[in-house]
Symmetry: C2
Subunit: 335 residues, 2 copies
DNA sequence: CTGAAAGCGCTAACAC
DNA sequence: GTGTTAGCGCTTTCAG
């Protein structure tokens, strides 16, 4: 890499003159500016980012810590984060916690050493379950801003970007009820997470409020290790009268649909299905799955915007929580 | 952040003593080492990474440029990259080119300013189609190592990690032929890419070598904008005798399977299907899709290993190309 | 209009 | 065993 010093030597001027010239300072003569810039261009001078970071005490880099890149929701958020960050001249360093709270803590420690100006995080499952907050609080105490999204920690006082999980699920259940469904089951593989709990509550609330609904709540909680397909089969065996399904995760809705079709159920006549899935599953069902759209890309962009505003002190004082609207997108699996 | 200087002041010693003590230098007395370390721990001293980077001219950071994070293959590679990098003490900065060669070029420029020690890249579609090489060559000329994976550029002389696309596809087609299939169609949405071309050639070669195979090649090329489902329907309309499908991408195999089942075809009796898809589609078909496993995580890990070896001069001279083995994983959609 | 000097936080050669 | 000094590449104040 070519440095200011090298330019200065070739031009027989001082380093500071070169620096000022490149910044178009008023102090420097037009002529010198021209000469300096010409040579800089010729030699393809690029200011050393590390030196600038050291000097300015800003890295123009955001640390992004997500639980699982293989989950399409997080991949989409990351997409939004990258796009917005790039547009605003920020780089992103990513760490994948892999749902482990140790890895998450380690990532904060590693990037807390001046590598990034701030963090965007979604908590690992373990972090949420154990409600571990010290590592994030320690970062905040150092005045490094943190934005949490989706899987947020109640006890931490920082900017947050969430969707209205309760409301989204409530609305979806309401829709199924309005269709006249008599036995609506909830499918989930995320009951442990804050978002899972909220979605479950939305479903419960909707059922509770439905005066003419006689069945109690029916919930199937599967874990990653379970054989999801078997679990769903036995749900259908046990409750052959299920005529509505609300899947609050990425996968179970699609699987349930395939299993139902195989049993000869007509969709949506005999059974209505709504998923929290993403568009990426759309090619995989026919009719197409009705879903709650989470606007993951927006979540990413909003998180970046919030963080950068905070870095520039454009937001002051109290932490802010932004709620990104969801949409119930009705496709072929609902009436 | 607490600095060496602050520690030095509190302890009434010099900055260099503190530095040496923390590194456990032989020069420093046991006693001083203890005192320094105790205070460092108490104040939670963390060496400033930016300063170390400036001094050492190494960032311990890898720039990763991928075309599309929403593609599960790249997400998996990224997973492998992150894991291996983290384990070796490297951070990764990611840029998403979004298949645009301008964005890719820009990412190289931005990160080329001393932000990273080396690059791991998979070329954007546009870069491959236009065969743009200058930006990468320019980086290599600055002695910044680059590892390309999957979508590599022939004309660039750097380390590469690929799979045997030709061989994998050849083997898969051979398998379908061995099953006695008489009309094997190839489905693709990546014909423009190097990997797509290689896979197509593998298929063609296998058919060519099959003396008792009378049909010519049947290929359906769809693009992202097409209605994939319609295109596949009309393929089946046009060639009702298709009894074997080789899908060389992530999606088309699954869609074809659903369409075929809907037409009353029995899988795998009437129709055999092999996809290049990932495990993430497995829950979505019944029987489960037979696939060519690409070991994406390995590709990521191997790329990191190669790059870091190159950075440490553990690999010398000529660029290396590593080929990661694929596996044909037979599940329910083949005999 | 230009340059010298200090300093960001750290390391390391070289004194003492 | 400890301290002084210089320097990584840059910005910025202050002198000239």
């Amino acid at each position: 890499m070519v440095t200011l010093k090298q330019l200065a030597e070739k031009l027989n001027v001082s380093v500071s003159t070169v620096s000022k010239a490149l910044h178009g300072s008023e102090e420097i003569s037009k002529d010198t500016i021209e000469r300096v810039r010409a040579l800089a261009k010729e030699l393809n001078y690029q200011p050393n980012k590390v030196a600038i970071s050291l000097k300015s005490n800003k890295t123009k880099t955001i640390g992004v810590i997500i639980p699982n890149i293989l989950n399409h929701f997080f991949a989409k958020v990351l997409y939004g984060v990258e796009e917005e960050a790039a547009q605003r001249g920020y780089d992103i360093i990513i760490c994948i916690s892999n749902e482990s709270s140790d890895k998450e803590i380690h990532s904060f420690e590693v990037l807390g050493n001046g590598s990034v100006d701030g963090f965007i995080v979604s908590a690992a499952e373990e972090t949420q379950v154990k409600n571990q907050t010290q590592h994030i609080e320690s970062i905040l105490r150092q005045d490094i801003p943190v934005v949490m999204f989706d899987r947020v920690l109640e006890d931490i006082d920082c900017d947050k970007v969430i969707i209205d999980d309760f409301g989204a699920s409530y609305e979806a259940a309401k829709h199924l009820l309005a269709e006249g469904r008599k036995h609506i089951a909830l499918l989930s593989d995320i009951e442990e997470l804050s978002v899972g709990k909220l979605r479950i509550n939305g479903y419960l609330k909707a059922l509770e409020e439905a005066s003419n609904y006689t069945n109690g709540p029916t919930m199937l909680h599967v874990s990653q290790k379970d054989n999801i397909e078997e679990r769903i089969e036995s749900l259908f065996d046990k409750h052959p009268d299920i005529d509505g399904i609300l899947s609050i995760d990425n996968t179970t809705g699609v699987v349930a649909m395939h299993k139902a079709v195989k049993r000869g159920k007509r969709i949506p006549d005999d059974l209505s299905i709504i998923g929290f899935s993403d568009e990426n599953v759309l090619p995989f069902t026919d009719p197409k799955l009705s879903t709650i759209k989470q606007h993951a890309v927006d979540i990413g962009k909003t998180s970046v915007a919030l963080l950068i505003d905070r870095l520039n002190n454009r937001v002051d004082g109290m932490p802010v929580t932004k709620t990104i609207k969801t949409n119930l997108v009705l496709r072929g699996t609902t009436k």
